[in-house]
Symmetry: C2
Subunit: 92 residues, 2 copies
């Protein structure tokens, strides 16, 4: 088992970082509370994940394509709600 340990650690890292955005997306959808969230972070992060997706497509790496599509979905939801709350807040 130990000769592929790097592969298992890589997959574990990918699963954790990819699905870590699910609890944030759920919390943001449920509470609509985005006060502590940095809109600059999620703008940069979502664009960055989009480029990871393009990168995965260019090098035909289906693990990257799969992981980044999921992360992009969650990050985009969080960014979208953060923008809406930011807009509502500044319209008052």
């Amino acid at each position: 088992m130990f000769n592929n340990i790097d592969l298992y650690i890589g997959y574990l890292a990918a699963i954790l970082t990819t699905f870590s955005f699910l609890p944030q997306a759920i919390k943001t959808i449920k509470t609509k509370c985005t006060k502590g969230i940095s809109i600059v972070m999620y703008s940069m992060f979502t664009i960055g994940v989009f480029f990871w997706l393009v990168y995965g497509i260019l090098i035909k790496d289906y693990v990257i394509i799969f992981a980044e599509s999921i992360t992009f979905l969650f990050a985009f939801i969080i960014l979208f709600i953060t923008f809406i709350e930011f807009y509502k807040e500044n319209r008052k």
Copy 2:
């Protein structure tokens, strides 16, 4: 220039996603406002980034080591402050 386009896109993606956590770390340090932040997300994400770092060390990829060390630093700061605020909130 176009025959290495995938490399440039990969680096751009790495830079954006790595440094996207800097504005969130700054906002969290400045405001100590972690209300909208998911503690589950940052726990999963910080552990995941730690495993990416271990992965980078195992395969001796200095780009991954460099990028994940920076992301780990920012994510750990955000997680640490979120835990403190979460603890303060629940002690009331």
